[in-house]
């Protein structure tokens, strides 16, 4: 068995919350630069320039990339040979979030659904656990903004709807979202499982680096086709019209019930913020 101290996890989580909100991933930046080269709309190019400049200011002047520093979402892969010394894993994660959002001057966006009273420290974090063999603990943090989350949907298609039905659902979702999720967006698609599993897969697929091809050749083809269809919508940077509506499309798929074809679309804004920590 391998033992990892509670405080080590807490400190790393805190650091990840602050860093992810200040430093845009190189894959996203590269995606924005490439989009600028391919963008036909002069206004669209100007918006992309603003976003590249925004990333520079955030990194150099230590101002968050976006005022919506998100709900804190975590994907945990816990090795079965790992024990946490001095406390429980969910407490270490939540304490890291508390400290990161406080000391990093990040916005606390968690509130009671009806009274809208803010919880004050951006907890509870949303944590997905997966038990894996071995002595490693991997935690991935995402700062998930409300604007793009609000435009996300899940549905249960009929098996007869097939690939075409899935593609139509995804493209329509982006079309109906227009400027709201802060395009250029990253489109996460979850197919199969159950309703909650499809949604989980859609969110998890958003962790895939921009530009990375799907290892499944069939899904890679669908991703490519979807990206073209989405960029043909003309929504463009900031929704003001243009070629770049999405930076990338990622699909994750699992088997489903013989009666069902679950599909979920989880959109991410261009400020796609995540950090992986390996212990």
């Amino acid at each position: 068995m391998r033992s990892i101290p509670f405080t080590t996890i807490k400190e790393k989580i805190k650091e990840a919350c602050i860093e992810a909100n200040h430093v845009l991933g190189e894959d996203v930046l590269e995606g924005l630069r490439r989009a600028k080269e391919e963008e036909d709309s002069p206004l669209g190019r100007e918006i992309l320039d603003q976003l590249i400049e925004n990333a520079r200011i955030a990194r150099e002047e230590r101002i968050p990339l976006c005022q919506d520093t998100g709900l804190a979402v975590f994907f945990v892969e816990l090795g079965d040979q790992v024990t946490i010394e001095g406390g429980l894993l969910p407490e270490a994660i939540n304490e890291g979030v508390r400290e990161g959002y406080r000391d990093g001057f990040l916005r606390k966006s968690a509130c009671h659904p009806f009274s809208r009273k803010n919880t004050g420290d951006n907890t509870p974090a949303i944590i997905h656990y997966q038990l894996v063999p071995g002595e490693q603990l991997k935690i991935t943090f995402c700062a998930k903004g409300g604007g793009s989350e609000n435009m996300s949907r899940a549905t249960m298609l009929r098996p007869a709807d097939g690939i075409e039905g899935v593609e139509n659902f995804v493209v329509n979702r982006v079309w109906e979202s227009q400027a709201n999720p802060c395009p250029p967006v990253v489109v996460g698609v979850g197919i199969g499982g159950t309703i909650e599993r499809a949604t989980f897969l859609a969110k998890k697929s958003l962790l895939t680096p921009i530009g990375q091809e799907n290892p499944d050749p069939e899904l890679a083809k669908i991703e490519k086709r979807l990206l073209k269809k989405i960029n043909d919508l003309g929504i463009g940077p900031a929704g003001l019209g243009g070629r770049t509506t999405a930076l990338d499309v990622h699909i994750m798929m699992e088997p489903c019930h013989i009666a069902s074809l679950p599909v979920a679309v989880n959109l991410n804004c261009h400020s796609s913020r995540h950090r992986e920590i390996i212990f």
Partner: protein, 185 residues
């Protein structure tokens, strides 16, 4: 691309007449922040015939909930939030003098109609450019609903705050026009 225009509230209908969709509008002077819950409370005050915590006549409301100000800065990241959530409340505020709104994302037909009727326009700021936009904000003070934290109403002093005109006084919509131009198939 549109012309560049400088404006400073308080605004009158005549000040807004020359503005056209696609214009780059640089806003200077004082503007107010409000988002979901603050709007709800403003409408409740109006329903009770009470005075609003600030004189809304001729003013601009910016839909933003900034991050806390780090030491030595007036404000943290401060980009726009999605505007459709304020569509329920916006026409009522135009009735009592609101002249401009800053946000991101399309407005409902009812809001666009109300803008024509009451003389109000909608400015788009770049969503997700919170660090960049914060550079145009010189000071921030809470004027109401401090208990709402990031959603409290703040008075911001801005200098050349960069926006693009989305909806003018004539019911035009830059989102619709822009997307039409680039849609394929």
């Amino acid at each position: 691309m549109g012309k560049t225009v400088n404006i400073k509230p308080p605004l009158k209908r005549e000040d807004l007449e020359p503005l056209e969709i696609g214009d780059k509008v640089l806003i200077s002077g004082e503007i107010y922040t409000a988002r979901d819950t603050a709007h709800k409370r403003l409408i409740e005050l109006l329903d009770k015939k009470e005075v609003l915590p600030f004189d809304i006549s001729g003013q601009i409301i910016y839909y933003v909930g900034p991050t806390p100000a780090p030491p030595g800065r007036p404000i943290g990241a401060a980009g726009p939030t999605t505007s459709y959530r304020m569509d329920t409340y916006a026409p009522r505020l135009m009735e009592v003098g609101l002249k401009g709104m800053i946000g991101k994302g399309p407005r409902s037909p009812e809001v666009i109609e109300a803008m024509k009727k009451w003389g109000c326009v909608y400015f788009g700021a770049t969503g997700g450019a919170g660090a960049l936009l914060s550079q145009a904000i010189k000071s921030a003070e809470i004027v109401a609903f401090e208990d709402l934290g990031p959603e409290a109403i703040r008075r911001l002093k801005v200098e050349n705050f960069p926006t693009i005109l989305i909806n003018d006084l004539r019911g035009n919509d830059l989102y619709q026009e822009g997307v039409k131009k680039y849609r394929r198939g």
